[in-house]
């Protein structure tokens, strides 16, 4: 990974941390579209709590933190780091290495710039 791409990923990750850790406090508390329709029309009569309702991060609120802003912010930060770790790990495990060609026979570094003109 080049230095410029590393910088892009770091800045992007900081933006995600800011959104999940801070901005999320100001998000709407209203039920989302499906939850609202489900409760208005009765689709949820047989709804059951999730099997992980007792998770310390359940409902994006961290157990044991009294302050709402902090409880939600910590949950958001943990989620961003967790999804980044799993996503990056999977991508690194799957990626083509070095000069290994893709399925059209192009080398890994060559980017498709469209049909020849």
């Amino acid at each position: 990974m080049t230095r410029r791409t590393t910088a892009f990923v770091v800045v992007g990750l900081l933006v995600a941390l800011l959104l999940a850790g801070v901005v999320s406090f100001y998000a709407s508390d209203s039920p989302d579209g499906l939850e609202r329709v489900a409760s208005d029309r009765g689709l949820n009569a047989a709804e059951q709590p999730s099997g992980v309702e007792e998770s310390p991060l359940s409902g994006y609120r961290t157990d044991g933190i009294g302050d709402d802003r902090l409880a939600g912010g910590v949950a958001g930060v943990v989620g961003v780091i967790g999804t980044f770790a799993v996503g990056t790990g999977l991508a690194l495990a799957l990626r083509r290495r070095g000069g290994e060609p893709d399925r059209r026979g192009r080398p890994a570094h060559q980017v498709d710039t469209g049909p020849p003109r």
Binding site: E47, G51, L57, G89, A91, L94, R96, H109, V111
Partner: protein
Amino acid sequence: MHVPDGFLDAPTSVAAGAIAVAGLALCLRRARAELDERAAPLAGLVAAFVFAAQMLNFPVAAGTSGHLLGGALAAIVVGPWTGAVCVAVVLLVQSLLFADGGLTALGVNIVDMSLVTVLVGYLLFRGLALLLPRSPASVVGASFVAAAVSVPVASLAFVGFYAVGGTTDVPLGTVVPAVLGVHVLIGIGEGLIAALVVGSVLTVRPDLVHGAHGLLPAVRLEPAAVT
């Protein structure tokens, strides 16, 4: 749009789980072709960004909110196969750690919010990109439409599962307009966010937008230095 446990009966949940596993297996295999040295580090960032954006519910009508689904956005930025995997990672983490979306409903949620949004969003994006003049504005415009349409289509996928195996007997004539109406509104928000993000990445690093490859011939490519 996360479906909780108990909305759908067991056979339907299992069937949706099988579709999700089969679809993701295909995506994992094909993602390899998209993940070169340049794209691999972006996949984790896309998953993290979609997770963060999904926490940001925006109001769409009195007492109702919506949030980004992210499938179309992910597909445009890192490619459809990788994009579907990224959104599935988000849904898995949400279901296991945050109790957002049921455990038995994970298959339904992956089909609706990952596979369907990516399929619809990416096909529409490519179709529009072929019709429109090759320019950054076209890429951004196509991103808006693709993301906006992907949301109501995903909500219809849920209705499809409900029709097959809903645990309640609300007539479809009631469910369809209610679900579709609110998700058309949420789709506008989805389209705006996708267009904003794609436009921002195009401005700073156009070479990192998978969907723009071949559409923006003037893009200056970073030398593919290996570190």
